[in-house]
């Protein structure tokens, strides 16, 4: 087989065929379109490119997309840990059901969670009505964006932290307890260090997803320019106005952001693996 020179020898067949097809399909479906976006952006002059990026409406959209995603990932970091802890450490009626439910945001189409959240949190909705009495409006404000991103990001944190919690050495906790450590000391000195890489991975995954999220946000956010308009929506608006240059420039920046997040996730995971190995030896 012609492909022999680039792999270690193996008796198994199909290397050339499967790698060839994989590379071809990846290139045709993912890489070629991304290259087209990069070239479209490269055809813009620097001043034009920069003027699109620093346009006040665009800057306001980055602030909302990134800020809301950061806040939502932080809130998920806390509540996601509590949920993962309850599922791993405690046995309670309905635990299996709750565990299965965690993946609902993965399985539920974003448009459905979008209109459902908008309905629940609308000023006259189930929760919106109660929150309005307390003077808080969620729907059609930045808070609504955060709520939608909490929903979308939750499974990332819970599913990252769960396996790490299962691996925490319980005898360490018991030893610490018998030596007089209180629950907060045990949490800070034993549990937190053990789950930190997983916690960070979940946080980064939720953040990456939140920055690019579209469907679940646009129904609840109100979409006011400069106020409640996320960057992906601004790209859609530019496309609808046939402003291909503007859409390409903003899309390119979001693409760069995705690469940065992907790199950060890989970095965090590699760090977690190194720590894991160091602990076992």
């Amino acid at each position: 087989m012609a492909a022999h020179w680039l792999r270690k020898p193996s008796v198994l067949p199909g290397f050339g065929l499967t790698l060839g097809f994989t590379t071809f399909f990846l290139s045709a479906i993912v890489l070629l379109p991304i290259a087209a976006l990069a070239f479209e952006t490269a055809s813009l002059s620097w001043p034009r490119f920069l003027s699109i990026l620093v346009d006040p409406r665009a800057v306001a959209s980055y602030r909302l997309s990134f800020g809301a995603a950061l806040l939502a990932a932080g809130i998920n970091g806390v509540f996601g840990f509590v949920v993962a802890w309850s599922l791993v450490r405690y046995d309670f009626p309905g635990r299996r059901l709750v565990d299965a439910l965690i993946d609902l945001p993965f399985a539920l189409p974003t448009a459905v969670s979008g209109i459902a959240l908008a309905t629940v949190f609308a000023p006259k909705g189930w929760l919106g009505l109660k929150l309005a009495a307390a003077g808080v409006q969620v729907a059609y404000t930045w808070i609504g964006v955060v709520v939608a991103l909490i929903l979308i990001g939750l499974p990332f944190v819970v599913r990252s932290v769960q396996p790490a919690l299962l691996e925490v050495q319980r005898d360490l906790e018991e030893a610490a307890e018998s030596l007089g450590a209180g629950p907060f000391t045990i949490f800070r000195r034993i549990i937190l260090p053990a789950v930190l890489p997983a916690q960070l991975t979940g946080f980064t995954l939720a953040l990456a997803r939140g920055i690019g999220e579209y469907g679940s946000v646009v129904f609840i956010s109100g979409n006011l320019p400069l106020k409640t308009e996320i960057t992906p929506l601004l790209i859609v608006i530019k496309l609808e106005q046939f402003d291909y240059e503007g859409a390409a420039a903003l899309g390119f920046i979001m693409l760069v952001m995705s690469f940065v997040m992907l790199f950060a996730i890989n970095l965090v995971q590699a760090w977690g693996r190194r720590r894991h190995v160091a602990q076992e030896h």
Binding site: L108, P109, L233
Partner: protein, 283 residues
């Protein structure tokens, strides 16, 4: 896992620990109920707000029916395509050593990290009027953007990693000894795959396929960018939900949305069953 948890609990008897346990379970359930169950309940309540009759009538709308047909057609193309890709990628990556492997894995994951809107946008840059192939496509009278092929391509893009992502770690963990034995004993490539590999990976494969299907039928952002929203022609179920919702036709919007919620529920049930099977095997 259940046993280990309950054994651990009988060991902890202090009042403080029990209070902490009750508090944390309460916070978890309250948080999930607010975030997950309230929206799900809202879908059902709104869909049935005017009774079953109105609910069922929502599905008589020809545009809604066309949307359901288009979504089924899209999934029927996308899911097999990404399944074949996923098996092929997992075979190359799990069974062989070659330079650039970790780069390949990262690139396969890329669609997960990219905003769905960007997935649509890159296709517009390639096939749109101003795109690389725009002029050629126009000259040859082929429509991709604002037509069904664009919807299919956008959906393949966003669901690209699902099957590969499930199979790669599974096949890496299983190793290749059985396949090597089969080949050495004279079995052909296809026989080895169908009789040795497939039975080992079928549950992971099923899991990847149902997740891929759920996302393919429910994708909104990417499809929204390339669809053009031509009613009855290029609207999928999620886009039809959006149209009905923006027209304040809430009963119909949520009735159609309830189809997708049902799909999500079925997906979760199958996923849970697959995991139970895997647990019983290893446990």
């Amino acid at each position: 896992m259940v046993l280990a948890a309950s054994r651990a609990e009988t060991r902890r008897v202090s009042l403080g620990a029990r209070l902490g346990r009750a508090l944390l379970i309460f916070v978890s359930i309250a948080f999930l109920a607010l975030l997950l169950l309230a929206p799900l309940g809202a879908v059902l309540a709104q869909a049935l707000a005017n009774g079953w009759q109105a609910y069922l009538e929502s599905f008589l709308d020809p545009d809604t029916r066309a949307a359901i047909r288009l979504t089924l057609l899209t999934a029927a193309i996308v899911v097999p395509a990404n399944t074949i890709f996923g098996i092929s990628a997992a075979w190359a990556i799990a069974k062989f050593e070659f330079p650039g492997k970790s780069l390949l894995i990262t690139l396969i994951d890329l669609p997960f990290a990219v905003s769905p809107v960007i997935a649509g946008l890159v296709l517009v840059m390639l096939f749109g009027v101003h795109g690389w192939f725009g002029q050629w496509l126009q000259d040859h009278d082929v429509a991709i953007i604002f037509a069904v092929p664009g919807i299919v391509l956008a959906t393949i893009f966003v669901t690209f990693p699902y099957v590969a992502r499930e199979l790669i770690p599974l096949m890496q963990q299983q190793g290749s000894e059985e396949e090597e034995a089969a080949i050495t004993l004279g079995a052909g490539a296809w026989v080895t795959f169908l009789r040795v590999t497939l039975p080992k990976i079928r549950w992971g494969l099923l899991y990847g396929v149902i997740l891929c299907n759920a996302r393919a039928m429910g994708e909104f952002g990417a499809v929204s960018v390339v669809s053009g929203h031509i009613r009855g022609m290029t609207t999928t179920i999620p886009l039809q939900v959006e149209i009905l919702y923006n027209e304040y036709n809430f009963v119909a919007a949520f009735a159609v949305a309830s189809l997708l919620a049902l799909l999500a529920t079925i997906t979760l049930v199958i996923k849970t069953l697959v995991e139970w099977r895997a647990d019983r095997r290893t446990g």
